[in-house]
């Protein structure tokens, strides 16, 4: 009988959906083996979020350095706590925090790690993870040793079940950071030009746009559709569009009536921001692009030909 530890993330005093998903899975696995589910959060502000969490035990790591995410302090505090708890399994979200901490904690503790997990099931006695790799083009089935393996789960992989408990809460003091110093937190900039989350129609371009000069084609199409141009991350990283236009894990989550994905491959980090759009139409000249798995309609046309053709058809309609 062991302990399954969920490293929770909270926002405004509530556990994130991703963390509740992890607790749901931890309960499911624990139920079959008689394990204890233990949730860990950091910072005083997160205390309320575990009061009714679906776990038997909760630990709040407190101290001056944990109110905001700090890689060194979080890593040392969590690794230290895990050394004491000796869990059989550690679940974290494959969030920016999980991507930063998961592997470091696993290596530090000498245990295995599984990243980009999208499913976790018991096959007899063996816990088997499915991971999404190669930009979503392949999946991998991995046996998860119950020796403290750290598994980071892509948010939204399964639904969180509404359930609550009243865990025993204890406090643990975090170490004082010594080498990395957090100077300041920079809040998200509201979209200075447009708010892509409010648009009904998004004309979203990816690396397939090839050249910033081609953005004009997307602008003209968006205008003809009375929509707004959004994009994938590489377009922003190249400096071609402002960050406020970025859809995905590290950008905005959008749910427009139509999402026109043009030259976007459909990497998991992009899908995370748009898969709940009412209608997705994808155009990508690679017929195996993962974007076609979430789109209702797709085409393998060249977007540089399609954009002007579509703009023209729309203009003809209006006359």
């Amino acid at each position: 009988m062991g302990r399954i530890v969920v490293i929770g993330e909270s926002h405004r005093g509530a556990l994130s959906d991703a963390s509740r998903e992890l607790l749901t899975k931890a309960q499911e696995i624990a139920g079959t083996g008689g394990d204890t589910v233990s949730v860990v959060v950091l910072g005083e502000a997160a205390r309320d979020s575990v009061k009714a969490a679906s776990a038997k035990e909760a630990t709040v790591i407190v101290g001056p350095g944990v109110d905001e995410y700090h890689p060194e302090t979080y890593e040392r505090a969590i690794a230290h706590l895990l050394d004491e708890i000796q869990p059989s399994l550690v679940l974290m979200g494959n969030t920016t925090m999980g991507m930063d901490l998961g592997a470091a904690i696993a290596a530090r503790r000498g245990v295995a790690m599984v990243a980009y997990c999208t499913a976790l099931v018991l096959d007899g006695e063996t816990l088997v993870a499915t991971s999404q790799v190669y930009g979503g083009k392949l999946a991998s089935e991995i046996e998860v040793p119950k020796t403290g393996t750290v598994v980071t789960v892509i948010p939204g992989s399964w639904a969180p079940v509404q359930s609550s408990d009243s865990p025993d809460i204890r406090d643990v003091e975090a170490p004082v950071p010594s080498r990395l110093e957090l100077l300041k937190v920079i809040e998200a900039e509201p979209g200075q030009d447009v708010d892509i989350t409010k648009a009904d129609i998004l004309v979203s371009v990816g690396r397939g746009i090839e050249d910033p000069d081609n953005l004009e084609l997307a602008d003209q199409l968006a205008e003809a559709l009375h929509g707004v141009v959004s994009c994938s991350r590489p377009v922003v990283d190249s400096g071609w569009l402002p960050r406020s236009r970025q859809v995905g894990k590290s950008g905005q989550t959008v749910k427009p009536k139509v999402y026109l994905a043009l030259g976007i491959s459909g990497a998991p980090e992009h899908l995370q921001g748009m898969k709940d759009a009412e209608l997705i139409i994808a155009v990508n000249n690679d017929e195996r692009a993962p974007i076609f798995e979430v789109a209702q309609y797709g085409a393998t046309a060249d977007i540089l030909e399609l954009m002007p053709a579509l703009t023209e058809k729309l203009q003809e309609r209006v006359g």
Partner: protein
Amino acid sequence: MKITVLMKDVPDLVEDLELEAGQLLVDDISFVVSEWDDQALEEALLIKDEAGADVTIVAVDTGDVDTMLYTALAKGADRAVKIVGDFTRRLTNRTRAAILAEYCKSESPDLILTGVQAIDDIDGQIAGLLAGYLDIPHASVVREVHTMDAQLHFIQEYSGGRMAEFTAASPVLLGIQAARKPPRYVTVAKVRQLQKSATLDEVQVVLPSTPGLTVRRLYKPEAAGHAEMWGDDADTVAEHIVRVLGEKKLLRS
């Protein structure tokens, strides 16, 4: 400032990833530089341009990494190191990180940069794994790295568009999300020319033992759904889009 950039190559996603018995047919696949490692290289070169630095590129020799290393030299790196030993294309990240840890311990760079992730990081990202082995401070999902008075400054992305500015004394390891500018380009001719004069330093490392994972199989996921496809003719596709949007009453006249 001694900067070490860790690079690896990964299967080119533009091509079909062929599988046999649940494993990638690595001999039939073409490999390209992991895009985030390329971003890490660019950030290192930008730091060098800005403040001066000695940039060493390091790759574990799992196949043909020479072109990748020569390309980095052609772009402006000072030294390229190929870690040689008994390594194959099936090297796990965990073992790769342990190999790189051996190397970094002997070289003690001030700053280690690598990509935030790679498309084949099944068993964890190199940045975190290596930092864990080296027990040095690290941060991932990082951009805008600058050096100021022997201190490093950088931005780490949090979720939802929030971020934080950090400072640190070396040594530090950073997982780069994106360089400040798109990676610079060098011509094949320039790389070829450099190949004639430059040399790669070879460093021998013994294959370390690391906690392994049993990967049962790799497979092409059965899609939960698939788009209804309209082919590749731009005009036909445009007509279909107009029709569907019209049916959904989404076209304003």
